[in-house]
C-alpha cells in the first residue's frame, strides 16, 4: 500500500523470491554446516594425528571461504532486494520490528566471515592450538547467525504472544522457534556432510583417504535421518492451529482425492528425506568406490529439491498471511481487514503509488492481487476466471470479503474495498479475462 511494487509477469513476484530464497537458504545452511564440519573434522584429525585428513580439511575449507563470503553474501543481498521490491510493506514491517535482530545477525555473519578467513589463511601459519581456537570461533559464530535469523523466519509464521505484547523477545522465541532451529541445524549438518562427500569423492581412488572420508562424511547424515522425523512432528505440534488445520485440511478425508498441493509437497519432503538417507547409504557409505560425480549431481539435486520443498511448505503454510496474524500476503494489514465488515470503507485512498492514468480497478488489482497472481503465468487469473463475466466476478469478490463466511479465508487474503471499488476491480478483471482468453 505504502510503496510501489515490482511487477513480474510469468513466474510472478513470489516465484522470484522463491528462487532466490531457496538458493539463499540452501547455501547459507551449507555454510553453517561447514562451520560445524570443519573444526570438528580438524579436531578429529589432530586427535588421530592424521596428516592426510588434516590436509583434506585444509582443501575443504577453501570452498567455504568462497561460499560463505561471496555467494552467501550475494544471495543475502539479492533476497533483500527482491522482498523489498515485491512485498515492500511486509519488508518495511519486519525492518521496523526486527532491526535489532538483523543487526545482531549481521554482526555474527561478519565475525563468521572474519574467523573463516583467518581459519583458512592461517592453516600453515597459525599454531595448531590457535588454529583450532579460531575454528571453534568460526563454528560458534556461524551457528549464531542461524540462531538469530531463525527467530525472524519463524516469527512470520507463528508470531505467538507478539500479537498481544509486541515484545521483541516474544517475537524472536515464538512457538515454532525451537523445532525450526532443530530442523535447520540438522539440515546444516546434512549439507555439511554432503559437501564433505563432494570433496572426498574428488580425491583419487587409489588414495585410501577417499574411502575413509566418504564414509566419515556419510556419518554426518545420521543425526538428520534419525532426528528429522521427530523434528517434523515437534514442528507440526507447535504450529498455530489454523496452520495445523490447513496442513490437515489438505488431507481432509485423509489421503482421498488429489491432495492439496501443500500436503503433497510436504509428503514429498518426508519422502525425499528417506530416499536421500538410502542414497547416501548405498552410494557413499556402502559403495564409496563408485561414488562419482554423476551420482553426486543427483544427490545435490535431491537436496536442493528437499530444501526448496521444505521452505515452500513453510511459506505456503503462512497463507493467507505474509506475517502471521498481522499482515496478509498482499500487504493488507490484518488489523485493517478485520474492521472492514462494512462494505463502504474504501481502500483506494490507501494506495499511495499509482501508475499514471490507471483505473481504480487496475490499481486494486496491482495492490491486492498481484503479489500472488499473474494474469497468465503463476496462479493465472485469466485461467481461474475463465468463463465468468463482470457480474460473476463481482459476486466472487464479494464472497472473498473479510469474515468467517469467506470460504477462501484460510488460503487467501480477504478482498477489501467498498462496493464501488470492488465493482471497479471486477470491471478491470472482466475486461482482462475477456480480452485475451487463456489458451490453456
Amino acid at each position: 500500500m505504502n510503496y510501489p511494487q515490482w511487477v513480474i509477469e510469468g513466474v510472478g513476484g513470489p516465484g522470484v523470491i522463491g528462487l532466490i530464497a531457496v538458493s539463499h537458504v540452501f547455501i547459507s545452511q551449507f555454510a553453517v554446516g561447514g562451520g560445524v564440519f570443519l573444526p570438528v573434522t580438524e579436531y578429529l584429525a589432530r586427535k588421530r594425528g592424521d596428516a592426510e585428513m588434516l590436509e583434506y580439511c585444509h582443501a575443504h575449507s577453501r570452498f567455504f571461504v568462497i561460499l560463505t563470503s561471496v555467494v552467501g553474501a550475494m544471495f543475502g543481498i539479492g533476497i533483500w532486494f527482491a522482498i523489498g521490491l515485491v512485498n515492500p510493506d511486509a519488508t518495511a514491517f519486519l525492518i521496523r520490528n526486527f532491526v535489532l535482530a538483523w543487526t545482531i545477525e549481521w554482526v555474527w555473519f561478519f565475525l563468521e566471515v572474519l574467523s573463516l578467513v583467518v581459519y583458512y589463511y592461517g592453516w600453515k601459519t597459525l599454531s595448531p592450538r590457535t588454529h583450532m581456537m579460531v575454528g571453534w570461533a568460526y563454528m560458534f559464530t556461524s551457528l549464531m547467525t542461524l540462531v538469530t535469523i531463525n527467530g525472524i523466519l519463524t516469527f512470520m509464521l507463528s508470531p505467538g504472544n507478539w500479537v498481544q505484547d509486541h515484545s521483541f523477545w516474544s517475537g524472536m522465541f515464538n512457538p515454532t522457534y525451537w523445532p525450526s532451529l532443530m530442523m535447520r541445524f540438522l539440515v546444516c549438518l546434512a549439507l555439511a556432510g554432503l559437501y564433505g562427500l563432494i570433496t572426498a569423492s574428488r580425491m583419487p581412488k587409489t588414495h585410501g583417504m577417499r574411502t575413509h572420508m566418504l564414509q566419515y562424511s556419510a556419518r554426518w547424515f545420521i543425526p538428520t535421518f534419525v532426528l528429522m522425523i521427530f523434528g517434523m512432528a515437534w514442528y507440526y505440534f507447535k504450529l498455530p492451529e489454523a496452520q495445523q488445520a490447513m496442513l490437515y485440511s489438505g488431507v481432509s478425508g485423509f489421503a482421498r482425492g488429489n491432495l492439496a498441493i501443500l500436503t503433497r509437497i510436504s509428503m514429498l519432503t518426508v519422502f525425499f528425506t528417506c530416499t536421500m538417507g538410502l542414497m547416501i547409504y548405498f552410494g557413499a557409505y556402502a559403495n564409496p568406490d563408485e561414488f562419482t560425480t554423476g551420482k553426486i549431481v543427483f544427490l545435490m539435486l535431491s537436496a536442493l529439491f528437499v530444501t526448496g520443498a521444505g521452505e515452500w511448505t513453510r511459506e505456503v503454510l503462512r497463507k493467507p498471511y505474509v506475517i502471521g496474524q498481522v499482515m496478509y500476503s498482499n500487504g493488507v494489514l490484518a488489523a485493517d481487514a478485520q474492521t472492514m465488515e462494512d462494505a463502504e470503507r474504501p481502500i483506494v485512498p490507501k494506495i499511495h503509488w499509482r501508475r499514471a492514468g490507471e483505473s481504480d480497478g487496475e490499481a486494486m488489482f496491482r495492490t491486492e492481487c498481484r503479489s500472488c497472481h499473474t494474469l497468465d503465468g503463476y496462479r493465472p487469473l485469466r485461467e481461474f476466471l475463465k468463463g465468468r463475466d463482470e457480474k460473476s466476478i463481482l459476486n466472487l469478490l464479494r464472497i472473498m470479503r473479510p469474515g468467517d463466511k469467506n470460504p477462501y479465508r484460510h488460503i487467501m487474503p480477504p478482498v477489501v474495498g467498498s462496493d464501488t471499488e470492488l465493482a471497479s476491480l471486477a470491471h478491470y478483471l472482466g475486461m482482462e479475462v475477456a480480452a485475451a482468453p487463456a489458451s490453456h
Binding site: F254, A255, R256, G257, N258, L259, I261, R264, I265, M267, L268, F271, F272, T275, L278, M279, F282, G283, A286, N287, D289, E290, G294, K295, F298, S302, F305
Partner: protein, 358 residues
Amino acid sequence: MNIKDWITRFVEERLPVKAFKDLSAHKTVPEHKQDFWYYFGGISLFFFILLVFTGMVLLFQYQPGLESSHASVLRIVTKVDFGWLIRSIHSWAANLMLVAVIIHMFSVYFMKAYQKPRELTWFTGLGLLGLCMGLGFTGYCLVWDDMAFFATKIGIQIMETVPGGSYVANILRGGPGMGGLTIQRMFALHVVIIPWIFMALLGAHLFFLQIHGNKIPEGIEKSGKYGRVPFFPNFILSDLYVWLIALNLLAVLAALFPWPLGGEADPLAPAPKGIKPEWYFMAMFQLLKLMPAEVGPINGELFGNMLFGIAGAIWATVPIWNPATATGRRGKIAAYIGFAGIVWLISFTIWGYVAKPV
C-alpha cells in the same frame, strides 16, 4: 553374534553358498566413461517392478466392465485412500519405463552390443520393447475415458489395414465393435497374458546378459581405457542408487502432476478433435497421417504400415546385416540409420504434439 553364525551355518549347509560366492566373485561390470548407459536396463527393470506392485494394488479396486471401468477409476482417484497416488505412480512409471527402455535400446544400438555373441539379447530386448508398448496400449484403454476409447479404437483400426490384421483386431475388440468385451480383452492382456510372456522373455534377456556380460564399446575396448567393477556389491549398489534417483523423479512427477482422468467414454459421440495416441506411438501416428489416401495401387495406411514393417525389420535384423565381422562401412551405415531413427522419433513426436488436430 551367535544367531548370525547360526544363520550362516544353516544356510551354508542347505544352499550352494560357495557356488554363488564363486560366481559373484567372478562377475564384473566394465567401468569407463560411457558406463552411464549401462544403468538404463536396470532402470527399466525397476519401473517394471514398481508397475507390477502398483498394478496389483490397483487391481483390488479397478473393475473392468463397460459400466464399471471408468467409474472405478474415478472412485480410485477420488475416494480410495491414496488411490490417486497409486494410479499416478502406475501411469508415470509406465511412461518413464518406456523412456528408459527406448534409451536403453539406442545405447545398445550405438554400442553395437547386438553383435555376436549378443544377438539373442538384442532380439529378446526388442521383444520386450514390443511387449512394453503392448502393455501401454492395453493399459491406456482400461480407464475407458474419452481419449482412451478413441485412441484404442483408432489404434485397432490402424491394425486392420494390415493383411490379417482384422482377425487380430476382432480378437482384441472381442468382436467387430468396441464394447465391454474390448475392455475385458485389453484387461486380460494387460494384467495376465502380456506380463507372463514379459516375465519369460525378461528371464531369457537377463540370462543372456548374465552369460555375455556388458558390452564394452569397441573404441574404449581397443584403447584399453576401462576397468572392471565387481558386480556384487559395487554394481548392485550403484544400481540401487540409480533406482533411488528414478524413484525420486517418479515421486515428484506422480505427486505434483497427478495423471489426469477424462470424462467417461461415450461410444456414440463423435471422436473429440485432436485425438492423439500416447507419446510412444506418436511418431508412428504422425508418419501415418502424412500418408496420402493411396500410394500407387496401395492403400496409404497399408503403405505406411509396410514402411514400418520394413524399417522395423531392418532395425531388428541389425545383428545379421552388421555382424561383428562386417566391414567398417556397414558399421557406418548402422550408425547413420541409428541417428536417422533418433531424429525421426524425436522430430515426429514433437511434430505430432504441435501439429494442428485434423
